[in-house]
């Protein structure tokens, strides 16, 4: 058991080493122009330098601010609205067209409009994040609320559960895995949108640091260091979320095979997705 665990980690480290080595090799061999693209060692040095000052951590904090507020607003509204639509057929049929329409708008396309409304501020960031998170999550929540296992539904009917009791005891727990799946995607989407808003709009945060560093080739290692930070932050947030999800949903059957088999699989994606 232990040896298999260690083996997995050794393999992962090996893959990382190979990838980084390849990057460094390509740079050193001149396949990648050194004035266009920094080498692995330069980027690593820049990353270390940035991490030892407060700049990197401040930037991460600023990004997380927009991410967190936007995610909270978007998710809360989505859970509310999605539940309401899911429970009422008329509401569902009325709203679903609009939701699909707005969901289809790529956030980058409304960035100019967001700049006009809120400028380069925290408000702009979290408004965009909330917008991006809301639409797909509404559909996912709605789907979760509607896709009640027929056996469970019939049992609830037999047990004469109705109204708020049925909602709290039956519908919500049944919808919970769909909601958490949707939230897991929302966590990643929120981060990506936040960084895009900073990169193209400006202001503060990881994206803004990348923007600043694009001005001069001597700063490219810093630029790519922050790109790496963005990816790492995403992985970290997803892992934290998965741990939280496991804790909240430990009672649900969908968690059982995961717990039994593979402890480190934060990338598990959708259980099911709304149609």
């Amino acid at each position: 058991m232990i040896s298999r665990y260690l083996l997995r980690y050794r393999l992962r480290l090996a893959v990382l080493a190979v990838a980084l080595g390849l990057w460094q090799g390509l740079s050193a061999a001149g396949v990648i122009r050194s004035d266009e693209f920094p080498s692995m060692s330069q980027t690593a040095t820049a990353l270390w330098d940035q991490a030892s000052t407060s700049t990197l951590w401040t930037a991460v904090g600023q990004t997380l601010e927009g991410w967190g507020i936007g995610l909270a607003i978007g998710a809360a509204c989505a859970i509310l609205v999605g539940t309401l639509i899911g429970l009422n057929g008329f509401a569902y049929r009325s709203v679903i067209g609009m939701v699909e329409f707005f969901k289809a708008i790529p956030v980058i396309a409304i960035l100019p409009i967001a700049l006009l409304l809120w400028g380069v501020t925290l408000t702009m960031k979290y408004a965009l994040v909330a917008f991006a998170v809301f639409w797909p999550l509404v559909i996912q929540v709605c789907y979760g609320v509607r896709s009640l296992d027929p056996v469970v539904r019939d049992t609830a009917t037999v047990l004469r559960l109705r109204g708020p009791r049925k909602f709290a005891l039956v519908t919500m727990p049944s919808a919970a895995p769909f909601i958490t799946t949707g939230l897991r995607v929302a966590v990643a989407v929120a981060l990506i949108v936040d960084i895009i808003a900073e990169l193209i709009g400006g202001g503060s945060g990881i994206g803004a640091r990348i923007l600043l560093a694009e001005a001069d080739p001597s700063a490219y290692p810093i630029e790519y260091a922050y790109i790496v930070v963005a990816g790492l932050l995403g992985v970290l947030l997803a892992s934290v979320f998965t741990i939280g999800e496991r804790w909240v949903l430990h009672w649900h059957e969908s968690q059982r095979p995961v717990l039994a088999e593979d402890q480190n699989y934060p990338e598990r994606t959708e259980v099911a997705v709304a149609r």
Binding site: R33, D35, E36, A72, I73, A75, A76, C77, I79, L80, T83, P112, L115, L116, L117, W118, G119, V120, T121, T123, A127, V152, T155, L159, A168, L169, V170, M172, P173, A176, L199, I200, G201, G202, G203, A208, L211, L212, A213, E214, A215, D216, P217, S218, A219, I222, V248, L249, W251, H252
Partner: protein, 341 residues
């Protein structure tokens, strides 16, 4: 069938939490999103009793911001009663959008953008220079038109039918290429202009994806090291001593905050005058401002003739070209585009 008690508790807690957060968010969310302000007065805390006014300025990071950075870092703005927060943005277009939202009071703008917006009814005026006007000496100008190695282009005439890289299709550089083309006797529309960020231009030239580019330092030296040849300095040719960039504010803000604006102008003029004689000191502000190393910062060329007076005649000239090439349909009076104390 019994649902696990813990599961029920979690579900109810989650629902209550979601409702609470949503209620808090919906009640505190900004109400400014309902009516977009066209020309709104700003929300700065310009208290009459306060000694210092807080203002926000949106800028595009590049070397000529040195005087601006210096004015902030050395306290010149503070001496004039201003606490200026600088916000980096990707382009003047983004800066103008932020100013329209009211979250920024001052911004960096290029003359074509200034003219374009005014011709479309948005009132913005230049308040001060960034670090002076366009130099007339090529040695001071880092913007060059280069031809890729092996493209066979030796003059503007050779651009006919070729691909030319510009940083932005509505920029002064791209207008300059069209004007130069017309002056050289070739059809400007035969030139195929492509918008590429400066940083990617050397690669585009070297790989032959474009045959020429209007490029600035430090990327220009990368391009020439690859064998690209300098054809001319378009802005020196066409717009010597012109106001090609400036720091601006919306007309509504200027009329409601005349003191702030005149202090801003005075501070920038002071910084620019200082910068002229202390270039090495001022260039070091780029270390923090653009995350450059001190050596790289010291090596930057500042594209300026250090004349901080705004030049309306040059704006009229640029407007004329913009109208000629169909970018604008009406030409606002240049005097209305510049604020004077």
């Amino acid at each position: 069938m019994r649902i696990d008690d813990k599961g029920r508790q979690y579900a109810i807690a989650a629902l209550l939490a979601a409702t609470a957060v949503a209620a808090a968010a919906c009640s505190s969310s900004p109400s400014s999103s309902s009516t977009p302000p066209a020309s709104t007065s700003s929300s700065t805390s310009s208290g009459s009793a306060a000694a210092v006014t807080n203002v926000t300025l949106g800028y595009v990071p590049y070397s000529d911001d040195a005087s601006l950075f210096y004015a902030v870092d050395s306290g010149i703005f503070r001496q004039h009663g201003l606490n200026v927060s600088l916000v980096p943005q990707a382009s003047p277009v983004a800066v103008e959008a932020s100013m329209a939202s009211g979250t920024e009071q001052f911004g960096f703008v290029t003359t074509p953008v200034l003219v374009n917006l005014n011709s479309k009814g948005v009132g913005i005026k230049c308040v001060s220079s960034v670090d002076g006007s366009q130099p007339s000496n090529p040695a001071d100008d880092s913007t060059v038109l280069v031809a890729a190695k092996g493209s066979g282009i030796t003059s503007v005439k050779g651009l006919a039918g070729k691909d030319v890289a510009e940083v932005q299709l509505t920029s002064l550089n791209s207008l300059a290429v069209e004007v130069l083309a017309k002056q050289a006797g070739i059809n400007p529309s035969s030139i195929h202009q492509v918008a590429i960020p400066f940083a990617q231009m050397p690669a585009a030239l070297a790989q032959g994806r474009v045959q020429a580019a209007v490029i600035v330092a430090p990327f220009a030296s990368t391009a020439t090291a690859d064998g690209a040849t300098v054809i001319t300095h378009p802005n020196v040719d066409l717009f010597p001593n012109a106001t090609v960039t400036c720091l601006d504010a919306m007309s509504s803000y200027i009329s409601s905050n005349p003191t702030v604006v005149s202090e801003f102008r005075a501070a920038m003029d002071q910084s620019i005058a200082y910068s002229q004689n202390h270039q090495s000191v001022v260039k070091q502000t780029l270390v923090k401002g653009l995350t450059l190393t001190p050596a790289v910062a010291a090596a930057q060329i500042l594209t300026t003739n250090w004349n901080a007076t705004l030049n309306p005649a040059s704006i009229t000239l640029i407007e004329g070209y913009m109208k000629e090439f169909g970018i604008i349909t009406t030409e606002p009076a240049a005097s209305s585009l510049i604020w004077n104390p």
